[in-house]
């Protein structure tokens, strides 16, 4: 922004507007060129409105995602849950690979740790230990265990040059697999069965308390917005949205008699809701982190580690944070897997899954949370859907195994032609390609403004 000429304040504000609101041509320049001007402006207007919504967006996205479960055929629920599950995992991996630039090829090992921790704490069929806990109590432990594993693996290895990390994490996955296969306490390769499903029951009284709390929160939010943006109607409407949503939720809970929710394998829908809640929380946390000091440190490290260190960024610690956040997301996903399926063994977590999750992140767009979700849908949802629709083979490839070959090729092609993935902003492209694209002046100013 500092580059803008001082003599033309009007031009400067216009330029500022251009850099802060995303436009269609940032994401799909080809499409933007093809579309007529009116349509393009309309899309840009939608983008602009969308970007001003702030974190209300997350609630809307969450609601939309949840509602998918009502529209699709119940027989597809399983696919939906599986896709959502890996979308959550991809979200976490995106922090590691996309934000901090660490290539982690053993990501699913943390998922295995999370799942096994859950299994160990809750399992009740064999007498591995004297106590059994509820799945909800196991949840924080699963996340913590995965995080701890990330810390233990990361502390020595993140000091190394980046290239080695890939192979070390790959080796780590193999080690964890072998340990799972050989450790008697987790039944070796037979795995653990009989992990209970979570359920919860809320009394009328509890609901009233939560409902009142939500209403109070809504009133407070509304007051804040009113004080700040009283004079601008459009800002007011946008700002009041979160308050309205919170309030509506509070009233809804007040009207209910009590909620009993039981989960079981036959109705995967409920798991979809849990996953969506976690995804929304994840999106929120990641967005906040991205904008924080830590997020900027990650970016600096990703672009030039030596320079970042020279600027006083504690490189190893920042990398560790990214690694641990990724690991804990993976552990969380592991918890969901364990309580949903109720049965895990080392073969549930092949190395292949680590690679496929990486494919999802890279294809979707390195560093973009939305991209990670879309990538997961493509990598994990599409093959299942294709098989469900009766495609046994696509282009002579078996749908289940051949997809890996296809995705492998896609990874190369993506890296060559669209290194930012499906969802890539101009800024990410400029970072990934240090060639002619980024020297384009307009782009350069836009990038400078965005930073």
């Amino acid at each position: 922004m500092s580059k803008a000429p001082e003599s033309a304040p009007v031009a400067e504000t216009k330029a500022e507007r251009a850099v802060t609101t995303p436009r269609l041509e940032d994401y799909a320049p080809g499409l933007a060129r093809v579309l007529p001007g009116g349509a393009r402006d309309a899309v840009d207007a939608v983008f602009a409105f969308w970007s001003r919504l702030g974190f209300t967006r997350l609630v809307i996205v969450g609601a939309l995602l949840m509602s998918i479960a009502w529209f699709i055929d119940p027989s597809k629920d399983e696919i939906l849950v599986r896709t959502g599950f890996f979308a959550l995992a991809a979200l976490g991996l995106n922090v590691v690979v996309g934000l901090a630039g660490l290539l982690d090829l053993g990501y699913i090992a943390f998922m295995m740790i999370g799942a096994y921790t859950t299994a160990f704490l809750t399992e009740s069929t064999t007498t591995m230990h004297p106590f059994t806990a509820s799945p909800w109590i196991a949840l924080p432990f699963a996340v913590l265990a995965a995080m701890l594993a990330g810390l233990i693996l990361g502390t020595p290895t993140l000091r190394l040059r980046g290239d080695y990390l890939a192979i070390v994490t790959l080796g780590f996955h193999e080690i964890i697999l072998q340990v799972g296969k050989n450790l008697a306490v987790v039944n070796q390769s037979r795995g653990v069965v009989g992990i209970p499903h979570p359920d919860f029951h809320l009394e009328k009284g509890t609901l009233v308390i939560i409902g009142v709390a939500l209403l109070a929160l809504a009133a407070w939010l509304a007051y804040l917005v009113w004080r700040r943006a009283r004079d601008r109607v459009s800002d007011l409407v946008i700002g009041l949205l979160p308050a309205i949503i919170t309030g509506a939720l509070g009233i809804f809970l007040l009207l209910k008699d009590g909620v009993t929710q039981e989960f079981n394998v036959l109705r995967p829908q409920e798991y979809w809701y849990i996953i969506v809640v976690f995804i929304v929380i994840g999106l929120f946390v990641i967005q906040r982190l991205k904008d924080s000091r830590i997020g900027r440190a990650w970016e600096a490290i990703r672009e030039d580690e030596v320079a970042a260190a020279a600027m006083g960024i504690p490189v190893v610690r920042m990398k560790l944070y990214a690694f641990m956040i990724g690991a804990s997301t993976s552990g969380l996903a592991g918890w969901i897997l364990a309580v949903k399926v109720g049965f895990i063994n080392p073969n549930t977590f092949p190395l292949l899954l680590s690679i496929l999750t990486l494919c999802a992140v890279v294809l979707g767009g390195v560093g973009s949370s939305l991209g990670a979700l879309i990538g997961a849908a493509v990598v994990f949802g599409m093959p299942e859907l294709l098989r469900d629709l009766g495609f046994e083979k696509v282009l002579g490839f078996d749908v289940e195994t051949g997809r890996i070959a296809i995705f492998g090729a896609l990874l190369i092609i993506t890296m060559i032609f669209r290194p930012g993935g499906l969802v890539s902003s101009a800024r990410r492209r400029a970072e990934l390609v240090s060639g002619a694209d980024s020297s384009d002046e307009a782009l350069a100013t836009r990038v400078a403004g965005e930073v």
Partner: protein
């Protein structure tokens, strides 16, 4: 112990591919494990399917088949490696892609090749027998251990190739340009070295050695499968890092050391723990001596 040495020499041969490419491009060529697999697979195709050699042969015929098989495996792997460079890495280089992009492309390539071979029209998911053209005989007794002829062959081939390669890189003109590019790619371009050709040569040599390793691996363990490359690939990379990546002698040393470590851990702790121990050693080495035992650099 002797088994460890045999395994180690195969690791060393694969490790060479990693080391050469890393030395020149500073890139971990994750696809090298599939290049190695191609070596074994092409031996299976050419000898087993096309020439349908199933009977053990002897004398001059055996030698002929061996030489032909080694050459064929080496060439097909080298061809695959060159293709990989041409279609995956070179476009990335031209576009000045980031390091992460190279790594991801390499992972992609590895999975592409491996799972291509898993499809029915190639190897499929089954495990095949390696063409049994060589009778197993208890040929020698070394240090009290019985060693059959196939294994002796594997070790001899590895050592011979290493001696040759060391000579090649140190003394010949091409070797000198490889070392130049390894030191400074831009400077050597300015000095008139054809960088692209050097890189292709590197991939060719690395691929050739990988292919030969694939052939020997198939010979020693009598099997060929689509996922054969994965574990040896990781191990060989470990070996390369162990000895000092980018360093040819380091690859040999690291390979042998890793083979021995693995075999010792099998003897002392049990087979199921050998992979964790091998990786544990890798992590330890990296922590205490990040550039490996002999240090980095092709020139060293």
């Amino acid at each position: 112990l002797v088994t460890g040495l045999i395994l180690g020499s195969i690791y060393a041969l694969i490790a060479l591919g990693y080391t050469m490419v890393y030395g020149v491009l500073k890139l971990i060529n994750f696809a090298h494990d599939s290049i190695f697999m191609i070596g074994a697979a092409s031996a299976f195709y050419i000898l087993g399917t096309w020439l349908s050699i199933t009977e053990p042969k002897a004398g001059i015929v055996l030698l002929g088949i061996l030489a032909f098989g080694l050459l064929a495996s080496g060439l097909s792997s080298a061809g695959a490696a060159v293709l990989l460079e041409r279609f995956a890495y070179r476009p990335l280089r031209r576009r000045g892609a980031a390091r992460l992009a190279f790594l991801i492309a390499a992972v992609g390539a590895s999975f592409f090749i491996t799972y291509l071979f898993q499809q029915e029209f190639l190897l499929g998911t089954r495990e095949h027998n390696f063409p049994a053209f060589m009778a197993t005989s208890k040929a020698l007794t070394i240090l009290g251990a019985q060693v059959n002829n196939r294994r002796v062959l594997a070790v001899l081939a590895a050592v011979a190739l290493f001696v040759f390669l060391d000579f090649f890189v140190r003394k010949t003109r091409t070797g000198r340009s490889i070392r130049a590019v390894a030191q400074d790619i831009d400077a050597s371009r300015l000095m008139g070295v054809n960088v692209d050709r050097v890189i292709v040569t590197t991939f060719f040599v690395g691929g050739f050695f990988g292919g030969i390793a694939g052939f020997l691996y198939g010979l020693v363990f009598s099997k060929v499968a689509w996922n054969l490359g994965f574990i040896p690939g990781i191990k060989a990379f470990t070996a390369a890092v162990l000895g000092g990546i980018g360093n040819i002698r380091g690859a040999l040393l690291g390979g042998l050391a890793l083979g021995l470590i693995e075999n010792l851990s099998t003897l002392c702790v049990g087979t199921e723990w050998k992979n964790p121990i091998a990786f544990g050693v890798l992590v330890l080495v990296l922590v205490f001596r990040p550039t490996g035992i002999l240090g980095e650099g092709l020139s060293g």
